[in-house]
């Protein structure tokens, strides 16, 4: 009887436990062994969904803590279509900004000025330039897919956090030479990004910290982890810009017709 019990229950149990343990060990050790680039691929970047809508508040904060606030509704589809409609302050309410083929050679930008009821094409700034006088550049506002442009090296973990050192790939034309990325192990949300630029001092080249992005209040919405507060600090100017996202919705099946001049003027 005892043998039977042993055979029937204890052995399978043991096996299951062992297998489970083994699996756990494998998973854990795999996590330990994951290379920088592997981790980088798993990072929950900001535009993972097919489409998204949100209300965004942009706050510029200067050295003295004085704030300037702008509010807008934002729609995005894929990597290349974006629409912004400003809602605050009152004097720009109703104006809109449409980007088609963002980041592509065929990129087109339109602005609708409600005061004149006119839509005009505008040319975008250079990618590294400031977006609406904030500390975010157009580049920062666009794709956050660092894995396409950077090679990651894994540094020593912090508690619950992967720390990656990202070196710009040779072909990439990104502005920053090196990034240091903190990624939450649990949600894979980027928690902090340090942006370094290469600075020449005589013959020597030195990395200089330019900007720091910190994120906060990450939420899981429709299966996607997303930080809802982003703060970019310009280290040199001691100036900060904060983006706060509300009413985030993903994969609602936005129609392409939203990203047209006609919709822009509506």
């Amino acid at each position: 009887m005892k043998k039977l019990v042993l055979k029937k229950f204890v052995i399978p149990l043991l096996v299951i436990t062992l297998v489970g343990l083994l699996a756990a060990v494998v998973v854990v050790s795999k996590e330990k062994e994951m290379t920088g680039n592997e981790i980088l691929k798993t990072v929950a970047f900001f535009n993972q969904a097919k489409d998204q809508t949100s209300k965004m508040t942009m706050i510029l904060i200067d050295k003295n803590g004085d704030e300037i606030r702008k509010e807008m509704d934002v729609w995005g589809k894929g990597d290349h279509m974006r629409l912004i409609k400003f809602t605050y302050p009152a004097d720009i309410k109703g104006t809109g900004f449409l980007v088609q083929d963002a980041d592509l050679d065929t990129e087109k930008m339109y602005i609708y000025l409600s005061a004149f009821k006119k839509t005009k094409r505008i040319a975008g700034s250079a990618k590294g330039e400031s977006f609406m006088e904030s500390d975010f550049s157009y580049d920062d506002m666009g794709s956050f897919r660092y894995d396409e442009h950077y090679d990651a090296k894994r540094l020593k973990d912090k508690e619950g956090i992967f720390v990656l050192e990202l070196k710009k790939k040779e072909k990439s034309e990104k502005e920053f030479e090196q990034l240091v990325l903190w990624v939450s192990m649990e949600s894979r949300v980027p928690l902090r990004v340090e942006f370094y630029d290469l600075k020449k001092i005589g013959k020597e080249e030195k990395l200089e910290l330019k900007k720091i992005l910190t994120t906060d209040n990450a939420k899981k919405i429709s299966g996607y982890w997303i930080p809802t507060v982003l703060v970019m600090e310009d280290v040199k100017k001691k100036h900060m810009s904060k983006l706060i996202f509300k009413d985030l919705k993903f994969d609602t099946g936005l129609s392409d017709s939203i990203f047209t001049e006609r919709y822009l003027e509506r």
Partner: protein
């Protein structure tokens, strides 16, 4: 005094030990001394122009402006333009640089296919001839660029480098290095106040290394002529050397930087402080040599101690009067030089006797040659005595005539505070500044900061009006402002129709244009309007090298502002920029000058009154000095030497130093009278004794000051000449005018 004398002669080793310890302490401190050559850092930090400058720096990204000029026969060729482009990018990368604007990276509002855009003038440097020709044509036809970023004759182009106020001082050297690497055949120049400040720093270090040893050498030489003795030369020089170390030590200890004004403190101490040593040693050689050295020295300290103390105290008062200045460099000069003088006194009165006691076995006799030279001087002074006692009032008449001659020139006295004018006409700084003025409308700016609702069409129209009025002010360039940008946008949004080259009527319209420009232009707006849309910056360049022209320009600008904004509500306008800072500096120079002169005269007069308790005597002692100061300004008027950061101090220095001669003279004269001498004889005796010391002293001090004309700086050159003159004249006043006054008093009394 006797007790002090006894202590010093009783403990010579201890005295020297204490002095050595203090010196070591100050040497250690002095190694931390810093240099400050930025003119705005010399102004009080709460001056409105400085506060506004800082606000502009923060809101508009870098308020300090430097100008890199690339000169070539024709800058419109691929090679030169490529260099400009590379230089623009490299300089922009230096930390502390806020922004670089040049013809290869300037953004402008353009018409685009069915729209507008803010885009660079050129995407990349044009390569082929037609492209380059088109680029050239475009730039020269646009007053935003022609004469501001590219010379109208194509012979040069300018890179405007905006610097943050807080930055490394090495930035200019870094820019220089980059420029050097691209030089040839193009010539590169760097202008603007940061580069001037850098040139001042370089000159200052040179000056310190050049002037200090030379002044010490010359004064040593003068001392050697007067004493022909080893002790007579070395001991006073050690005293002033130590006092210089103490003064610089104190400066470093209190965190005060070395400036173009304080760099001459060692020169001043060498020439002025050595006089105390002369007094002490003169007396030492005068005393009966049959007594022991210790006894002699005790008498020397006792007899000369008070006289030297009074001399030092009045000199300190003269120097100290500068601490009322609003200009920090002059304040520092005031207390550091006064401290140096005080140190020189203390060291002289203790160190010289202590050293003599330890080193000299027997007081050496003065040598023959020494006596012979004295005889010439004695005869001259004797002649002067005879002249004064027989033909009195002549010197008074002469003095009165000189005074009238000086007063005539007073309206011609000017003030100057542009740091460029520290340098002579042949210097690189002036040449570069002239180049910037000739081809690019100047190397300094006027910043007009307008605070109000910048989206209000009414406000923008007023600014438009102001800009129009300012076009009539010759030395101002035409600035490109947010008003121009809004008008251009409005026109381009309306199919480039000229009728729309105006400010739109609606506030929301302006707000939305600004949004458009911020979406398209990156930091295009940043140099013109603040991100909260509450501040607008209008910054024309100022084309002048003369401070008085800045004044006239500012009067006109203020008038234009009053006319356009007089009835505007909720608008505040502040002026800053290097031109305003220079003007503030000048106003302070004049206000402080009057203040410190009165304080110096008052303090010195009170001291003489307290020490000698004779009202008429004190007044008489002051007369030659006051006259000297008044003549000094006359000379400045006649020779066109402006009151500047250095020459402004000549007056108070002359008072502090010159009074010594009168006081010495008066003191000895009274001693003679007390001894029963008749007044005429007393004058003669005083001339022969004190007169000699005064001549030696004045010669040494004047020679010391005459080192300054080889300075790197025009301001110190003028200062040297004027100070030397003032010393000689106050000595002459004490030896000729004062006796005449004293003798005439006898007549009055009789």
């Amino acid at each position: 005094m006797k007790k002090i004398a006894k202590f010093i002669t009783g403990h010579p080793l201890m005295v020297i030990g204490i002095i050595a310890l203090i010196t070591v302490f100050f040497i250690i401190s002095a190694t931390r001394i810093s240099i400050e050559t930025d003119i705005k850092k010399l102004l009080p930090s709460n001056a409105e122009s400085v506060v506004t400058f800082n606000a502009i720096d923060e809101e508009f990204g870098g308020a300090d402006r430097m100008y890199v000029i690339v000169e070539d026969e024709n800058v419109f060729d691929y090679e030169t333009l490529s260099k400009v482009d590379a230089l623009t990018n490299e300089i922009a990368d230096i930390s502390g640089v806020a922004k670089v604007m040049s013809i290869t990276n300037l953004n402008e509002i353009k018409a685009a296919p069915d729209g507008v855009e803010v885009a660079p003038l050129i995407e990349e440097v044009p390569k082929n001839k037609p492209e380059i020709a088109a680029f050239k044509k475009k730039l020269l036809a646009d007053e935003k660029y022609a004469g501001l970023f590219v010379a109208k004759d194509s012979s040069a182009t300018l890179l405007l480098v905006k610097l943050y106020i807080e930055r490394d001082k090495t930035i200019v050297t870094e820019v220089e290095k980059f420029c050097k690497s691209y030089e040839g055949p193009e010539k590169m120049y760097i202008s603007g106040s940061p580069s001037v400040a850098h040139a001042i720093q370089v000159g200052l270090v040179k000056d310190l290394a050049k002037l200090t040893p030379l002044a010490f050498g010359l004064v040593t030489f003068i001392l050697f002529i007067s004493f022909r003795s080893w002790f007579g030369v070395i001991l006073p020089m050690i005293c002033v050397g130590l006092s210089s170390i103490w003064a610089f030590g104190l400066m470093a200890l209190t965190g005060k930087p070395l400036t173009v004004v304080t760099v001459d403190v060692p020169v001043l101490l060498a020439s002025v402080g050595s006089a105390y040593g002369i007094h002490v040693l003169s007396r030492y050689y005068e005393e009966d040599s049959s007594r022991s050295i210790k006894e002699i020295l005790e008498t020397v300290i006792d007899k000369t101690g008070i006289a030297v103390f009074i001399a030092a105290a009045t000199t300190m008062a003269g120097f100290m009067s500068n601490v009322v200045s609003d200009i920090s460099a002059i304040r520092t000069f005031g207390f550091v030089s006064a401290f140096g003088i005080g140190s020189a006194f203390l060291i002289t009165i203790s160190f010289i006797p202590a050293a003599l006691l330890l080193l000299a076995r027997k007081r050496p006799e003065a040598e023959g040659k020494h006596k012979e030279e004295n005889r010439i001087l004695t005869r001259a002074l004797g002649g002067l005595g005879n002249f004064l006692t027989t033909k009195h009032k002549w010197t008074m008449i002469l003095a009165a005539l000189l005074l009238v001659g000086a007063l005539v020139a007073y309206p011609r006295v000017t003030t100057e505070s542009d740091p460029v004018r520290y340098f002579n006409e042949e210097s690189e700084v002036v040449k570069t500044s002239n180049l910037a003025r000739g081809k690019f409308g100047g190397a300094m700016t006027l910043d007009i900061l307008i605070e109000g609702d910048a989206k209000d069409p009414e406000l923008l129209r007023r600014i438009e009006k102001l800009q129009k009025k300012m076009r009539d002010i010759e030395i101002l360039s035409k600035p490109y402002t947010i008003v121009d940008a809004i008008k251009e946008t409005h026109r381009l949004m309306n199919n480039n129709d000229k009728r729309f080259d105006v400010i739109p009527d609606s506030r929301t319209g302006i707000a939305q244009y600004l949004l458009l420009l911020s979406l398209s232009g990156g930091d295009f707006l940043q140099t013109m309007i603040s991100s909260d849309r509450r501040q607008i910056l209008v910054s024309p360049r100022v084309n002048t090298s003369v401070s008085t022209k800045i004044d006239k320009m500012l009067v006109k600008v203020k008038k234009a502002i009053n006319e356009t904004f007089g009835d505007a509500e909720d608008v505040s306008i502040k002026l800053s920029g290097m031109s305003v800072i220079i003007k503030d500096m000048r106003e302070m120079l004049i206000a402080n000058q009057v203040q410190s002169l009165f304080i110096a005269i008052g303090a010195v007069f009170l001291m003489v009154l307290v020490f000698y308790r004779t009202l008429i005597g004190s007044i008489f002692c002051m007369i030659p000095i006051v006259l000297t100061v008044m003549l000094n300004f006359g000379i400045m008027g006649w020779l066109g030497i402006p009151i500047d950061i250095a020459t402004v101090m000549v007056g108070s220095i002359a008072i502090g130093l010159g009074i010594d001669y009168a006081v010495h003279f008066f003191n000895r004269y009274r001693e003679e009278l007390t001894g029963g001498a008749e007044r005429g004889d007393a004058i003669k005796t005083t001339l022969k004794t004190v007169g000699k010391a005064v001549v030696y002293n004045a010669a040494a001090v004047a020679v010391g000051f005459l080192v300054l004309p080889i300075s790197e700086f025009e301001v110190l050159k003028s200062f040297g000449w004027l100070a030397a003159f003032a010393i000689l004249f106050s000595a002459l006043g004490a030896l000729a005018l004062l006796p005449d006054l004293l003798l005439s008093r006898r007549k009055i009394l009789k």
